[in-house]
Structure formats: C-alpha cells, structure tokens
C-alpha cells in the first residue's frame, strides 16, 4: 500500500512539468510550428520562477514571471521560424544553448537560496482517500492547474472559434486567411503560448518539485515533452497519458532499484527514454495520425528526403 502511494506520488511529481510542456507545444504544433526550444523555455521558467518565489513568495507572480521567461524564448523561436523561415530544429537547438548560458549566468545567486512557503494544499475529504488521496489531492497549486490544463486546452481547441482558427492555421492557412484571420499572428500567439506553458512547467519543477535551482536542471525534459506531442497524436487529453507515462517510468526506475529487482541499473536508467521511444514507435504506426497538414510537410522532408528530392526532380522536368 505504502509502496503504491510513493510510486504514485513520485509519478505525479515527475510527470507534472511534462504536462505543461506537452500541452504548450501541442498548441504550437497545431499551428504548424515545432518548438524544440521548450527545453530552453522550461529552463528559463525554472530559473526565473525560482528567483521570484524566493524574493516575493507570491504564487501569482511566480506563474506570471515564469510564463514571461518561457515566452521570451518562445518569441525568439517564433521570430526565427515564422518570419525568418529559419529551420525550426536548428534554431531551437541554438536557443537552448542560449537559455543554458543565460540561466547559468543569472541564476548564480539563486544556487544557494532556500525556499520558504509554497507548501502542498490538501483538498478536504478527497485527500483522505487511501492511496489516491495523498498522491492526487495533497499536491501543490501548479499540479492542480496541470490536472485541469489538458481539459481546458481540449475545450478551447475543439469547442471554441479560437480553437478552430488555431487548428486551421496548422491544417490550411489559406482557410484561416479566408476567414479573416492572419495565420502569422495565430502562429506567433501559439508559439508564445507554448513557451509560456513550458516556463510554468519549469517553475513547477524548481519551485514545487525539487525546491531548488540547479544549472541545466531540466535535463532533456523539454525535448521529451516536445516529442511526446506526437505520442499524444496532437490530442490534448492524451497528454495526461504521455506525461504521467514518463513520470511512471522515472518512478519505476527508482522503485525497481530500491526493491532490488534483478534488472541492471543500466537498463532501469534507460526506462523513461525507452518507454517514450517504444510508445512513439507504436503510435506512429497508427492508421489515424492526427498530424497537422503543415507539419506533415516539415516531417516528410525530414523523414523521407529521397522521396522529396525525386519529387522535385520530377517537377523540374
């Protein structure tokens, strides 16, 4: 029983930052822009969020500041990939190095800080439920928001006019234009939103999960989040599954070792990535991929360059 509670709590803790990054990038990818710079956005959000938490102790300011920090990286990504038509992946990698440098520089004074406050909020009655109570309803504010976030994004994407416009920007920008909206602005908004969400996810990690700022503390979670969007087949409700699958894998990585399950630690250490890879391989074979049309163009160029070259040669003839 106790084991189950611990595993579940650790799954939630490790998976929650991923919910933010997956949901954010999902909206961005829906408009046709992949933000691999989520890693950098999360890092900036974690650093700025932790700083604001230490000096103001205000949750609202933490959320706003970390969102702004994440969106700052998002803004550069948007400018480069939308206006300058730079390669999305290449520019994102450079942005991540920029974020690593910036946060290492500005985060120096935060390395020794001790965080006060920001405790868990127990939901009355619900937190008394055995096993689930402690892991699900005895959490911090940003985790509760993460529980609601995918539903919120689902509702916006599928039930509102704004959602339809966002989706159209990724499926066929001509239609967006015909409806009187500027796809460029929609994309900018979506990429900024992606960055902001990643920033908040980073803050969740530094302020609530580890309660510490450390250089490069995101350690690839932004990249994984970005790739998990495909695992969700671009559907927000599936981000619960993807994020907490990663969380569970990290949790089990530790659990198996504590219980001395005879599996090599080299294998358990691969768990989070192995599971992501296997899940990606399975879902990408699915017959009903939800990939936005404009992303397909990018994706096909990357995955099937020879076909593309042949097509071009045919066209030239």
């Amino acid at each position: 029983m106790d084991n189950l509670t611990t595993i579940l709590s650790c799954t939630i803790a490790a998976g929650t930052p991923m919910v933010y990054s997956i949901c954010g990038d999902l909206v961005g990818q829906r408009t046709g822009i992949i933000s691999l710079s989520m890693e950098g956005s999360m890092l900036c959000g974690a650093c700025v969020g932790f700083g604001v938490a230490v000096y103001t102790q205000s949750l609202l300011l933490v959320i706003l500041a970390s969102a702004a920090a994440g969106a700052f990286i998002g803004l550069i990504q948007a400018y480069l990939s939308i206006d300058r038509k730079a390669n999305m992946l290449a520019s994102a990698f450079v942005l991540n190095f920029l974020a690593t440098g910036l946060t290492a520089f500005f985060g120096i004074s935060l390395l020794g800080e001790k965080l006060l406050g920001f405790n868990v909020i127990k939901i009355p009655l619900l937190s008394e439920i055995p096993i689930l109570g402690k892991s699900l309803f005895s959490q911090d504010a940003l985790t509760y928001i993460a529980f609601l976030l995918p539903v919120g994004i689902h509702l916006v994407l599928y039930k509102t006019r704004l959602g339809a416009v966002i989706r159209s920007a990724g499926e066929s920008p001509e239609v967006t234009l015909a409806y009187g909206y500027n796809p460029r602005k929609i994309r900018y908004g979506a990429v900024l939103f992606a960055g902001a969400m990643a920033g908040i996810g980073g803050a969740q990690m530094s302020v609530f999960f580890t309660r510490n700022w450390a250089n490069e503390m995101i350690n690839g979670r932004g990249f994984i989040g970005s790739s998990m969007v495909a695992l969700c087949a671009w559907r927000p409700l599936r981000s619960y599954m993807a994020a907490y699958l990663f969380g569970l894998a990290q949790s089990l990585q530790v659990f198996f070792q504590i219980k001395a399950v005879p599996i090599s630690p080299y294998v358990t250490m691969m768990f989070p990535y192995l599971i992501t890879l296997v899940a990606l391989a399975i879902t990408s074979m699915s017959k009903r991929p939800g990939m936005p049309e404009t992303l397909k163009i990018v994706s096909e160029e990357m995955t099937d360059p020879i076909k593309k070259i042949k097509e071009r040669k045919l066209l030239r003839r």
Binding site: D2, N3, T5, T6, I7, S9, C10, A13, A14, P17, A104, I108, L111, G112, K114, L115, M205, F209, T210, R211, N212, A214, N215, E216, M217, N219, R221, Q250, S251, Q253, V254, F255, Q257, I258, A260, V261, P262, I263, S264, P265, Y266, T268, M269, M270
Partner: protein, 391 residues
C-alpha cells in the same frame, strides 16, 4: 541558377570571414596593451612570464595558477570545494589564481587551457576526470607549465602530475556515523553512475555502517545522471518512503537532497563538500578533499623544484578528510571516528582488509588480505548488506 548561388555563397563566406576577423581584432584591444604586442605575446606564451625564475623546470616562478572546474563553483558539491582549493592556493602560496568555471570536458577544454596559459598561468590544475586527454595534450605543448590532475589515473609523466585524494577512508567514516545515527539501520544512498569512485563510496560506506550495526543495510539507487535535481528528489523521496531514516548521496549538486531531508527531518550526508550550514540540524557529515596535501608539491614547483608526482592517499597524506559533523553527532561518535582516524594516519587500519563478503555472502577478500589501490579501484560488486544491483 548555379552561378548565382555560387556568388551568394562566396559573398556570405567573405562576410563571415570579415566578421570573424573583426571579432578577433576587438577582443585583445579590450583587455590590455597595444595590439601589436599582444599578437607576439600570443604566439610565444608563458615562456616570458612564467619561467623567469629558473631555467626549464615546469611552473618555476609562476605568479598565476589556473583551476579548471567542470561546473559552477556554487554547486555545494565538488566544484564548490575546488573553488575553496583555489582560494587556499591563493592565500597559502600568495599567487594569483584564476578559477575557470563550467569548462566542458570535451576537446574544448584544450582551448580553455591554452587561453589560460596565454594569460600567464604557470600552474594548471584540472579537477574533473573528463579533462584528462585535454590536459595531457596541452602539457605536451607547454613543457614549462606544471600540470596537476585530480582524477584517478596513473598516466603521470614529465610536467603532468597526478594528485588524487582516495575516498574510501572518509567514506568509511561517513558509514560509521551512518551506522550510529540510523535507528532502523536502513540507509538510502542516492548514487549517480556505477563508476569506480561511486562503487568505492557505496562499499566503504556500508562497511563502516555495519562495523557499528551489523544489520545495517545500504539501499542504493542510481539516477544515471551526475546532476538531475528531479531524479535525485524522486529517488530520495522513494527511499524515505520505503523506510530509510538516513540518506547518503553521490551527486554533483547535493543541495536538493539536503533541503528535502531537512524538511522531512531525515539525517543526511553531503558529497565532496563541507556545507553543514545548509541544514545543521540534519547534517551528519561528508567526505571531502583535504587541500593541505596539495599545497606542498605546487609550492615546490613554483620554487623551481618541480617533480612529477603521483600522490594518492587520504588521512596519512593529508589528501582527504571528513567534513564537520552536525548536531546529531554526539561527542562519543566523534571520539569513535577520531580513534579510527588516528589508526588510518598510522597506516594501521585498512577499510577493505579481509574478510570482505559480497552481497551473496561469498568471501571476496580473505581474512587479513589487504587489496591494493588498483584492486579497490576495480571493484565491480557490492559488499554484503548493500541492497541494489550493479550489473
């Protein structure tokens, strides 16, 4: 079409070259001296500044030393301790010390070391294991500079010396303290990677713990990363959840786990640095390097008597020691480890002296057998009482 692209390419590369040249031109101008002088100084480094004292001995008369760190000095772990080493070097030997943080352990390190030598550093201290190749390569090009390497290797030659504090003695003492303070005898160990240094730490820790409490167990979790605050937190949380009342760790940044244990009221060990002030109420101790032993060879090099050294050891050589002990450690416990330290200094106590059993209870070192350093460094199994897998 093709020619137009070619022209564009040529134009772009010219632009790039011009920009690069402009960048190079500005950098020295901003630092010191007229440009022309700087140019010549760069081509013949150190020889002018560092070896003014005696003829050809490496590091002779050096006025500047460089300490290369693999991370930030504020990590409350190894780099923090190494930054203190830099300070001590400056205070005891009266030379200027440049502490270079966040040096990548790729071939980039070569460029960084070259740059430091250009700035006049006659002594270079490489603290991370990953700097090995880069340091050896640069050492070959600069016979007048003395290089000191802190990693565990026997590749010392000419102007490349190795000073390596051996960790098993202090880790054993940490284990002794762990055996004292852990009431349930369940100690969690958040390890990073299954490499020799970490294996030695875990094994010596368990040997120390079971010398006090024969039933003590060390539960090991490898995070697979030197520095992942999230995974370290998950590991420590689960270890505490599974009943461990004391946590030891081998992490580059020990602070997240120390903070966590402070909130939970769990006894905690640091790693590689004395940071008791972070949480004096739950802090037990930590293994740390003793920088005193590093000073003498470097002093001799500056005095013009450089010798290529290969120094290894702990208490007897003043190369490793144990950090301050926290409020949970009683006077008796301190006396107990004090007595062991005396024996270690007198070379009368050996951590891995047989009988040592592995996890399955098989004898690995026979009664009375003293394994050599090389044997200890290649241990790839856990001693009895360690719970966890390594292969």
């Amino acid at each position: 079409m093709k020619t137009r692209r070619l022209i564009a390419l040529v134009l772009m590369s010219t632009l790039l070259a011009v920009l690069l040249l402009a960048g190079c031109g500005q950098a020295p101008a901003a630092s010191t001296a007229p440009d022309s002088e700087k140019g010549t100084a760069q081509s013949t480094p150190v020889s002018t500044e560092a070896s003014t004292g005696s003829a050809a001995k490496p590091g002779a008369g050096a006025t500047k030393a460089a300490v290369l760190l693999g991370g930030t000095r504020e990590d409350y772990g190894f780099n923090y301790a190494c930054a203190n080493f830099g300070k001590q070097l400056q205070e005891t030997l009266g030379i200027e010390v440049i502490i270079k943080e966040n040096v990548s352990d790729t071939s980039d390190a070569e460029g960084v070391i070259e740059e430091l030598i250009t700035q006049g550093c006659g002594i270079v201290v490489a603290t991370q294991f990953g700097f090995l190749d880069a340091t050896i390569n640069v050492a070959g090009r600069h016979p007048d500079v003395a290089f000191y390497y802190m990693g565990n290797t026997d590749k010392n030659h000419d102007n490349f010396s190795v000073i390596n504090g051996q960790q098993w003695d202090p880790w054993y003492l940490c284990g002794v303290l762990g055996g004292f303070v852990s009431e349930g005898g369940n100690i969690g160990f958040v390890a990073s990677m299954p490499v020799p240094d970490v294996m030695i730490a875990i094994n010596s820790f368990q040997l120390g713990a079971q010398s006090i409490n024969p039933d003590a167990e060390t539960h090991v979790v490898f995070t697979g990363a030197w520095d992942d605050a999230g995974l370290a937190t998950t590991a420590a949380n689960q270890l505490i959840g599974s009943g461990c009342d004391t946590i030891a760790q081998f992490q580059d940044t020990p602070k997240p786990i120390i903070d966590l244990c402070e909130r939970e009221g769990i006894s905690v060990f640091g790693c590689n640095s004395d940071v008791m002030e972070l949480a004096p109420d739950v802090w037990i101790s930590s293994m740390v390097c003793d920088w005193d032993g590093y000073m003498q060879p470097i002093k001799e090099a500056i005095d013009g008597n450089y010798e290529c050294v290969f120094l290894q050891g702990s208490f007897s050589e003043n190369l490793a020691k144990i950090a301050r002990t926290g409020t949970r450690v009683t006077e008796e416990m301190n006396e107990h480890i004090g007595a062991i330290i005396e024996q270690m200094r007198a070379d009368a106590f050996h951590v891995f002296e047989g009988p040592v059993y592995n996890q399955r209870g098989e004898v690995m070192f026979e009664e009375g057998y003293q394994p050599s350093s090389a044997e200890i460094n290649t241990i790839d199994w856990f001693v009895k009482g360690v719970i966890g897998n390594v292969n």
